[in-house]
Symmetry: D2
């Protein structure tokens, strides 16, 4: 699952009065890609919360907004696991325009949390193995 990507259509809801995608919404698109990457690995996040009592929360995000995406554009959003630690994962992500130029790119680090207490906890061994294999 290196090179994993999804397509995202830009609707009015995603744009702002500048005529382009509102910059904070690239973070939404990047999250969708991470979610679908995890789903492709066989992990549904609602099941992880309910059965494993764990969730992933974004701890930091560093994003460059390079070229504007516009209403009705069809974007490609990718996600590559770049670091896997005991209780956190880091992704490198890009949002590409249809001509394959980069609209936005960034690095997002997520912590594995206990779903009830919201405190950090180690990633369970099975999940870690699957993440490691896919990254």
């Amino acid at each position: 699952l290196a090179g994993f990507s999804i397509t995202v259509r830009v609707y009015y809801e995603d744009t702002d009065a500048g005529g382009v995608v509102y910059y904070a919404n690239y973070l939404r698109f990047m999250e969708r890609a991470r979610t679908e990457w995890l789903r492709a690995l066989g992990y549904e996040q609602d099941t992880l919360i309910r059965e494993e009592g764990l969730l992933f929360a974004v701890r930091s995000a560093s994003v460059n907004f390079i070229r504007p995406a516009r209403f009705n554009d069809l974007l490609e959003v990718n996600a590559t696991l770049s670091e896997l630690k005991r209780a956190s994962v880091t992704f490198e992500q890009q949002v590409l325009l249809s001509d394959q130029t980069i609209a936005a790119d960034g690095v997002v680090r997520l912590a594995c949390l206990d779903a009830a207490s919201l405190r950090p906890r180690p990633i369970p061994e099975n999940l870690r193995k699957d993440l490691s294999r896919a990254g």
Copy 2:
């Protein structure tokens, strides 16, 4: 608290590529006004959930989008309690431009729910009295 209103500034986040407030966002502005109305009555919704185990959920909304509001406009959003039933409340609301013309108006009905089960429950007597007095 008849004639209750708040002001809402339009930021980029609220607009779309049409250069105007994204229509679904008027529903957000209306909710802010209802929340502040309830707060002015002395009710904090997080306390209602935690201590009374109740929340209000929107059951229906009927909204007319009349004139566009734009980036940086300062809007007035009002909320008037128009009907108080055993387990629901209905508000009439308007979003006004700075020249007092109507950008959007509508009717929003909320049900009182048990916060855990999300099932309808009667509005507690004290709260009902305060709502009734304010409406």
Copy 3:
């Protein structure tokens, strides 16, 4: 294109602290379905703005929120053209949970506007014919 529908995945961005889809976001999902319906008819809205100088703006929306959709649900959102007038179109729409029960339904009326002046204008004859055939 009667019975037209799309699927919508519920991401964190769509939910609120009640654990369910934030009610105003159903309006976003309904718009996505209308956009894809129009695309299936061969009309791209960015092209309509640029080449025909026209856009559709929501004039009224009346929505019932019946059952909550939750994080990670896969929804079906349909759109049926129910009325076609000289300068407006009306859709009946539903958002369905995976068990085919209705999460939300509603009626949305859109006006055809001149993209520059934002004033009402008649729907062009070709587009009207295609809408009429599909409705």
Copy 4:
């Protein structure tokens, strides 16, 4: 205007099913603070677009999400100009909980763009002076 801050109330619209503020929404709160900072300096952004033909666009944002803010919290969001260059400005920002602990902090860089072409242009001298004095 060193130490400039605004208060932001957390509404349902800002939260997600984790019960906390959706992380991308801190970027919205930070933008509101920058906008109000500029307004306090006497600059309305809609006027800047219309009369000066310029707008500021976020070029990069690096944000740490440290402690969760929750529904109904009253946040303080500050903005400090940390760097002023020929065609860009950089802000250091914090979102504080009511106990003054940090919910999120970050650095946001904005480019000054020509509003029509969306190309970089120098910050006009008057504006630069006012920014410099306030920073």
